[in-house]
Amino acid sequence: MKSLLKQKVQLAFGFAILTLLLIGTASYHWIAVSEESTQWVWHTHEVLSNIQDLRLSMESVESSSLEFVLTGKDSALEPYYASIQKIEVDREAIRSLTVDNAVQQSQLPAIAKLATENIQRADRLIQLRRTQGLAAATAAMESGPGDQIKDDFRAAAGKLQSEEQRLRALRSVKAERYSSETKIFLILGTLFGILVVASAGWSTARDTAKREVAEAKFRGLLEAAPDGMVVVNQGGEIVLLNAQAEKHFGYSRDELLGQKVKRIIPEGFAERLIADETRSAAEALAQQIGTGIELYGQRKDGSRFPIEMMLSPLESPEGMLVTAAIRDITTRREAEAHLAQKAEELRRSNEELEQFAYVASHDLQEPLRMVASYTQLLSKRYKGRLDSDADEFIAFAVDGASRMQRLIQDLLAYSRVGKRGGELVDVSSEEALQQAVTNLRGAIEDSGAHVTHDPLPRVMADDVQLTQLLQNLVGNAIKYQKPGVPLVHISAAPDGEGMWLFSIRDNGLGIDPKFFERIFGMFQRLHKREEYAGTGMGLAICKKIVERHGGKIWVESEPGAGSTFRFTLAASDAAS
């Protein structure tokens, strides 16, 4: 934009200069022409005056010869000879002045002849006066062709004069015309020159104003920016900055202009602009454009603070500049640190909770084992040997202890999912299912269930936990059945997001949708103990296993129409 303006200004002034040059040249030409015309007028005057002189000289020849005839004094012959000479001079002057005019030149021989005749006649008269005296000379004068020559000469001179007068009139008109044309041209040319210069000036002023507006806008934009803006040249020197940047770094503008940017951003900025053998400066910059670079800023007092910087190139007449938008991210960093601290606290709290669950269940197990073992021993040794109440009481104690043992074992299993989980490795989910089915053999045989499956993929999982997950889900499918043959089918399909979607479908009781969420909670049961035994931990363990693997688990079901439990697992890197 700047260069365009420059071009425009150059063009306008160039045009103005050219116009003035033209006007100057034309004026010079017109003045020269006009001067020439004037000269020609003067020339005509000169010719006319010479003709007049010639005439006077002719008359002088005649009058001085006449005077000699009458007086006989030789003194009268002085003007006579002078006039004869003068006639020659005048004739030559007329000839040379009219050398370019054929008409006038053609008259000259006649004039010359008349002049010669006139002089010859006067000579003859002078001779007569000397030799024969006054009377003879007077007689010759009166009888001679004197008047005839005089008339002829007058006519010839008149011709010459009238031609010159005609020329003079013609040249005067021409000269006058040239003169007035020159005036008009000068006035118009000057006006035009003024117009061109004025319009160039106006255009420049307008463009300058426009640029000033644009610059004001740019400056306004720069100042209004919420970020600190620092413009740096390729030499790493600060060429421009806004108020926000002053505030960030604690310097006044004047303290930073022209300074190295290293002063406020000690590391990582200037280095990014440097060209090296593998890249040019522009490429070096291009690599940084648009990416948030996290660095440290240094205030005037030497303290440092975290910043995020976005770079963008700025073309300018002084070469490529770099605009850096700088944001103080102290607050964000603090928030991040705070968040990280909270996350760490949460993680520790979770870990502690898990540890607590583990230790509590583990330590509870010991005394409980005693209770269970001894009630069982009691039942074994004394059943039928005490009264029926005692048998019943012992049975309740045995049952309670057994249930509590299962609860504690499940709680332990649950806490172990996170605590004791192995690495997630490439495993065959089909093999894990086979292991689960083997573990469930008793239940499958007892129920007469048909457990079928499609080919199952390799996934990233903890083998033991995957087996437990499938075992719990298949076990549930067999367990919560209505009369008839339980059918369980396991399949898997890609979910389109790089995960495998597993489905365990049964033809069992089904689940009311309002319990879909609840069944995955700890110790949640939907059935009475007399109907279906269990601790309500199975699906909670499943959920924890799936979530530990980065997947999701949910159920789709209709009461009476069976259930389909679905979960997702990451596809194996090797087998996807």
């Binding site: 583990h362 197990q365 010991e366 409980l368 084992r369 005693m370 269970a372 073992s373 001894y374 069982q376 021993l377 074994k380 057994s402 043992q405 074992q409 004791r420």
Partner: protein
């Protein structure tokens, strides 16, 4: 010929259960009981009040014991030339991998966890009896000692 077994167990309930189970499994077993590690070493080395203690055919050792725990007892036994040939069976409630690994590193002869159900516990004791007393060939150092 009676079979001498040393049970190192601090829980009286477990002691009694183990006694009951062994009585059922094999009447010929003579179960000696000590309740901490220090006492166990005294028994094995016939120190203090155990000067007439028999050399056991095998040892049932709990890991969590007062004064000196089962791991230390195991380390002492297995670094003692006179005792290291006695089969030492870890019998504990701990399922922890670290305990299992540590025990075998200290050359425990086998590691058993106490089942929670009485039936299972009785089965385990029967298996121990069956294997360690009936099947296994042991050096006859008892006669020499």
């Amino acid at each position: 010929m009676s079979i001498e077994v040393l049970l190192v167990e601090d829980s009286p309930g477990d002691v009694r259960l183990t006694q009951e189970a062994f009585r059922e499994a094999n009447g010929a077993i003579h179960l000696h009981v000590v309740s901490d590690g220090v006492e166990a070493m005294a028994f094995l080395r016939r120190e203090g009040g155990y000067s007439h203690a028999p050399r056991p055919d095998f040892i049932l050792l709990d890991l969590n014991l007062p004064k000196m725990d089962g791991r230390e007892v195991l380390a002492h036994i297995k670094s003692d030339d006179g005792l290291k040939t006695i089969p030492t069976i870890i019998l504990t409630t701990s399922n922890a991998e670290v305990d299992i690994v540590k025990s075998y590193q200290l050359q425990a002869n086998c590691y058993l966890t106490k089942p929670v159900q009485l039936d299972a516990f009785e089965d385990l004791v029967k298996s121990v009896n069956e294997f360690w007393i009936t099947k296994v060939k042991l050096p006859q150092q008892r006669l020499a000692g």
